[in-house]
Amino acid sequence: MKNSFSRREAGLTLVELLAAIVSVTLVLGAATGLAITAIARQKVEFDAAQLETQHAVLANAIFNAIKTSDSFQIFDSSHSAETSSLGSYGIGVPSGNYLSCRHNFTVGGGSGGLVEQDFEFVPGSADRLGTLVQTIRFLSTNQQQVRKEFSGVFATGPLFSMKNGIPQAHWSISTNLDRADFNVYAMPLSMR
């Protein structure tokens, strides 16, 4: 009799093939699940850190704007600020949601210029959540103004105040993980 065909030497059996497919599927599924979860967690952490960093930069900008200002004023809102003229500010308030800081500068020995940095809290539609808007205006030239928005802000009261005779700003942000508080105290160089 001729040698019979050996089925075990021909390749994999159906059971082995199925077991291999199930095993590979299990491993790939677990690996994919782990990767997706890790990416999602990383995104939450990254978004929270990014938002906090943006507001830390904003806090630093407010600090520097007040500190280096030649004059500043706090208003209730942008409507009140519009009463200001190039020569002087309008009537301000002890605390409000609009801060304006002006800086005089000269270039070389030539003519001077005037730059205004404004910070306004614009309440949003959601409860207490709003946006802080930073605007840099070049009042003595026709240069286009610079505008930046910082979202996710909530404040329990007016953002800017002159409490205890110190210009200050207080606000909080709500990240996906937690709440971060920002407190800025800055005394203008001209008032020291």
Partner: protein, 208 residues
């Protein structure tokens, strides 16, 4: 000599070399992996007559299953890295916040109106962080570094987001000769003492 034999004598090869592997397919699979991975294991030889007869062509089902189990456990072990990453991210954020608090008080201590320094401040003052009051010498204040989102234990999801207070910190002002020392102390939640305690300090010149 039967079963497994070793070119070099070693304690573990001596102890297992007399085993007949046909009765222990799981052990055989692990030993094969060990033989493949370890330098010492490469000195081991497995006599073919003591191996299951169906193993001449490749891995058996048992070996594959054991491998899958080992890989799965390893993959699950990787999740412990997440906790380490979370802890380090939290430590970095706390460090940044501590620096911000110290910068605030640096400005307050240097430039707040003089009459505020003469006010007796209570360490139990509520919401002192937004009051803008400088520290008096020897005064200590406490607050919280971290405000995580409140999670309802019952699983309910209310409309309003609330935050808890976690990771208390202590702020103290000490006058030492011609300098003022502001010290901020807090504890990292994932470490045990004394490694958990973080102390950050700034030195200020006394006001003239």
């Amino acid at each position: 000599m039967r079963g497994i034999w070793s070119r070099k004598q070693s304690n573990w090869s001596e102890s297992i070399r007399r085993l007949d592997m046909r009765s222990f397919p799981c052990v055989l699979a692990i030993l094969r992996i060990a033989c493949f991975l370890s330098r010492q294991g490469k000195d081991l030889q497995i006599e073919s007559k003591y191996m299951p007869s169906t193993n001449s062509g490749g891995f058996s089902l048992t070996e594959v299953m054991v491998s899958v189990a080992v890989l799965s456990v390893s993959a699950l072990g990787l999740t412990s890295v997440w906790k380490l990453a979370d802890d380090k991210a939290l430590a970095a954020r706390l460090d940044e916040r501590a620096t911000r608090i110290l910068a605030e008080y640096s400005e307050l201590q240097n430039f707040a109106p003089q009459y505020l320094l003469e006010q007796a401040n209570s360490s139990s003052r509520i919401d002192f962080e937004t009051q803008g009051l400088p520290l008096s010498p020897g005064e200590t204040r406490t607050g919280f570094m971290y405000h995580p989102r409140h999670v309802d234990p019952a699983g309910g999801k209310g409309g309003t987001v609330t935050f808890d207070d976690a990771i208390p910190y202590q702020l103290a002002l000490v006058t030492d000769g011609q300098v003022q020392l502001i010290t901020l102390t807090y504890q990292l939640p994932y470490l045990s003492d004394p490694k958990a305690t973080v102390v950050k300090q700034i030195r200020l010149n006394l006001r003239q």
